[in-house]
Symmetry: D2
Subunit: 407 residues, 4 copies
């Protein structure tokens, strides 16, 4: 596979020989490489933190991670002939870790550091390290578990136009302004600290760094959509906003469940992604498309036996909320957590399983006032014991174990 | 199959020869029939409105439907030996329409009548009538479409204890009190009008009617969970709260997508459901289970090709909301609506397809501040033309047609 | 569903009020009913023996079954406008047992009565009776087992032309002539005994009975193809050979594995089948089609965990055969039989499971001289214990039990 | 992944620096490497011909291939502690081509060179070259086609004991003796020409070469079983016959259909395979296992739409054969060939598709005398046009093209 973006993992993201890393969205970033429509090619990627997390048994690196330069993304790749209004058709041909780096990690962030979806239940920093065994992931921090990964890019999208960038900054600033001192913050404004924008340097870099959009949220262009089914073999349709498109990818995930709920919640990894691109000229206009869309690939793990936990929008104190899907989803997750603790897992272990494994989070009903209902589906075959209820009650199959914490 | 609950569809729900219909949840409803653990049996059900909707081309019946007596449910079926704290294991063996009534309907409700998930976009009353062709549904109101149904009960659950009922009423009353005159209402308080509680009569009925919980929301016992994958072959684990359990089912759906978004949003039907029951004694306590859970069955339609629409929590006016899954879900739906209109469908037709067909609504990311991301997956093979984008742009395959409206 | 073929199960097949039963293939059988292209309709069917087998615990009825009048099929249904050379498109909308007859049976035939695929290992007459529990089958003769059925018609096809009928009789007679006294026979010649051909009577019946082709083998028109995936929701393309097509169906199977290996090897049942028909005019010629073809439906059971047994073309005495798929298939089956006997089943029980359950028989390699290789895939989730090998070795989970035998 | 078997592809198989290649089965081959139970490791493999076939547009290399030294396999890998009677549990973690060699080939062999399953229809030597695009294969010799591969080892097994080897040679010699001059031969006797047996040299090699079993047929130990579903993620159970087991693998296939019908019929490739091993001590005896068995993995391509062709055991001249699955399979294949030629493919192109793509070959019925019925299932989504019949008849979508032939 022709490699158009190479990284040197022995050097920091800021010290790469080729200017192929970016960590903000901006319309003025020069293309790092070019391909033609119809071409297949490989892009190499750092993990999202740019190598800050290590394969060890301490969560200190999760606690101390510098988020200002995150995510570290690869690109932009220019597609010759792409113009605003086109639809860029990207086939995700394959994704993998580097051969000398067959591991990944999942982090639970403390509230000071954004927290996660269940941060009120699990406020402490923690980490799980995963070993990749071909298609399977296992973790010394979560025994009795093995699953085939839903390997996908957390982030994929084209560079925004200036107009779109301005709109993003406007609307997010307005939200932040409603509660500017909130912890965790409502959103992240542009932050010139630690900005990398490929070959942009000096005054141009300084100017762009002031207005470059943070990479955390998914937006119209796709971006950090974190969709677990955007897997090997998928075809993604991306709106083009600038000349040559400017395709950017990164934040590779060996696996993730719906929601990526611990925040640093997929199995995060460095690695490579092979793609094929094509163009539907004027496709956004022909179809009126305003947001990325895709077709999933044919090799998602075929788990078909699930145990499903329901959640409704009533909080732990008995307060009724109105069609609140977020709360219903939290409740369904906590039912799963409490159930799986029966077998010997800690809450943090289950929280991590829900976040990383091929777990489905369905919005089951959204109109039955006042309760939303969410169904969280856990494949039963990923455990090496039977998790289904039986007449005897639960047996502790899992030996005493836990995630890595601060040391 | 042994029939333990029979209904007479030539008579109104209020005039049934056997007192087997209930339309509120209450702890004091006498059992309508008894079965033993290990037994299989059939229960017949009205559609949720008790027969108010007709197979015609006017939506007047949707507009005029009396919701006070809804849903019309069948039961309670007592399971001998069931005691509070047990887990009732219900296998859903099969579900079907009555042989002389192989049709169903989907309604879009106006805002005055609860509205639906996209009521701001589709405020008008409308109706689609579906023909059942064995495993397939088709509609004269939505051409070029045929799909295998995800047939399931919208409602399944055991009677609540008095304690649980009191709690439901407390918390929902508190919510209503925050905005008592809202249209549509935040929740529905007990309403003694048109209450049916099986064989309960006179003063006992009057007393229970004043406090019986409405059947609209899903709650801890399951209830109106509207989970599309609670399909033929599923095994449901239901907490038992009263002596003999008191299993109640109804609101049968020939098919439904995640969310059931038009409110009356499944393909609603009258019919029968065959079940097998067993007990895990003290199962709720052994496993610490506080909410219904289940395993899906093995015959859900195996559609594997999807076109997926993404949505984020930014509204149509560019206002940014914080991790608002509901909004992201609406946006993903509207992207699908606008896209499929390219082929000749009206917005109301697509809204109905999203609500009824085997459409998946996944919470893709819920931690990437400030945007939640939802992915709405539509199986491509349910259309008789190719909905995927191509270089030529869309062709109008669908002949001029529409749902039924008020006449 | 409009019923175009009704049977009276209180009467013998020979005494039906409507002349809708046939048990030979012949070009001159008058249509029993007519439908239009685009129509959906129901056809009722006897089980293949016409009601000779009973729901009891003796295999005497299997031993004594009169095969001369088998199979008892329903039709022919004329499709208006169908002409030779057309392709009849039949959608199998749904199939089910009669409501008062929710059971079926599987028979092992003795060698004198055709035997079965493993007749040298299992020469004795035996029977299993199955109960239908909605989508699931269970048998009091084979405990610890429950599976979702692959419900399909064993037989579906159009009436042959005279020319085709003559060809069938010629080629089968030539085969029989090579060993006319073989037990079991190589093939079945026309046999005028017990012939039923719908409304054909008297001299016409007598003439046709002498030349009507037996219904046992699958042939170009489809016929007794016994394809397990010709399931609910399938679309079948059938060549038309006579004016109005003459669609005939029967031999309904609640479930069957690949091969239907015990001969009377599916779960045989009486019941109904709903179909929709359409025509591709001149389709056989346009596409050069000479044999029935089909698309499987979307609701086949989704079992995804299998234990797979291999077999090669070496017999039990160590004799090597050349690319003999039949022998390789027998060997794979016998490996499965011997393996599952570890858990307490008898050989006859496993033989029956292989024949009825959703078991796959794949021709894995057919060119690796001198051994063919066949893979027999058994879904593991149909057993209520784990059949996979483990370090402890097998445990006898199955209580002492067996099929029904002669009494 | 720890690499225990490395090959040097710049050198011939006979000139490898490490003695890790074998091309016959023999009990005396020394272990090439050792692993422990519980370990994961990588093995590198030549393609089966040891590099004789090139990525070009001439089939001369297929015509001239030297089959005496084939297959070129990697091993044996000793598993410490393995003893005869144990069951070796091998997890196939992943398989891939070398990074600098992302292509494969399929060959049609002439009758002089074994021929293939349809050699009477396609007697000429031909070749298709495939490009690997991540999970997908495409070929410049077969346009309008792309499919996700069923990547697996054609060959996996443990070394035979002397007793088993003697038995293999006995039974195959007896078969050959029945027609010793047949072309193609009935089986292949030991052939000392071009034998490689790892580190065995001199007189020991000469002695072993005289009796080493050829690698073409699948046998009890697994061997060249060519089972397409023995895919990434599978768990294989292999009988152990010699001390330390002696695990041997090779003949890697990027993809293959059931039957591998063109003989050199998979997409053949060089590459690597990652495995994890464990032991069930005395497992063969505990379970009475006499032949390899396996569980398929969870990431097989999930194609669910098929067009299925039926075949029966009547030959092209109208001769009726008795339950001949081989003939029925050939007929089903030829129906598919003739059908797909409607769209512009040559017969050889379709023959190759049937051999390589994820095509299923099911033994549908094997007891309906005199016809066996085989169903060949082709996934429809692997073509970029719709292959299903319609009212208009077929359109030639495929541009003039063909396989590579002799030049």
């Amino acid at each position: 596979m022709k490699k158009v973006i190479s990284i040197d993992r022995t050097k920091l993201p800021t010290e790469q020989p080729d200017p192929v890393i970016i960590n903000r969205w901006h319309c003025d970033i020069p293309m790092a490489a070019y391909v033609n429509p119809g071409e297949s090619f490989r892009v190499e990627c750092f993990d999202w933190t740019g190598g800050q997390i290590e394969n060890n048994d301490s969560a200190n690196d999760i606690r101390d991670v510098n988020l200002a330069p995150c995510h570290h993304l690869s690109g932009p790749v220019g597609v010759r002939g792409a113009e605003p209004g086109d639809l860029l058709v990207v086939d995700i041909l394959d994704i993998g870790p580097f051969e000398d780096s067959e591991w990944g990690y999942t982090g639970i962030f403390s509230k000071e550091k954004f927290g996660g979806f269940l941060t009120d239940y699990f406020p402490n920093t923690a980490k799980a390290v995963w070993d990749f065994n071909g298609i399977y992931a296992t973790s010394r921090h979560i025994p009795n578990l093995r699953f085939a990964g839903l390997t996908h890019p957390g982030i994929i999208g084209c560079l925004p136009s200036r107009e779109l960038l301005t709109e993003w900054n406007r609307r997010e600033a307005e939200l932040i302004a409603t509660d500017p001192n909130r912890v965790p913050p409502l959103a992240l404004p542009p932050n010139p600290q630690d900005v990398i924008l490929g070959s942009l340097k000096g005054a141009e870099l300084a100017a762009a760094a002031k207005e470059g959009a943070r990479t955390v949220p998914p937006r119209e262009h796709g971006g950090n959509c974190d969709i677990k089914n955007l897997c090997r073999g998928s075809r993604v349709y991306l709106p083009v906003y600038v000349k040559d498109g400017g395709l950017v990818v990164g934040d590779l995930h060996f696996s993730q469940g719906d929601g990526e709920i611990t925040f640093c919640g997929a199995i995060e990894m460095a690695g490579w992604m092979d793609m094929h691109v094509d163009l539907i000229k004027d496709g956004c206009n022909k179809y009126g498309i305003k947001q990325a869309m895709f077709e999933p690939g044919p090799v998602d793990p075929n788990y078909s036996d699930f145990l499903v936990f329901e959640g409704i929008s009533v909080d732990d104190h008995g307060n009724q909320r109105y069609l609140d899907v977020n709360l219903a989803y939290q409740q369904a997750c906590m039912h799963a957590v409490n159930y799986l603790k029966n077998f010997g897992y800690t809450g943090e272990q289950v929280y991590t399983i829900l976040s990383c494994a091929p777990v489905e989070g369905h919005v089951s009903s959204i109109v039955d006032i006042p309760n939303a209902c969410v169904a969280v589906q856990i494949p039963t075959r990923i455990f090496d014991f039977d998790i289904r209820p039986n007449a005897k009650g639960p047996t502790k199959h899992v030996p005493k174990s836990d995630l890595a914490y601060e040391t």
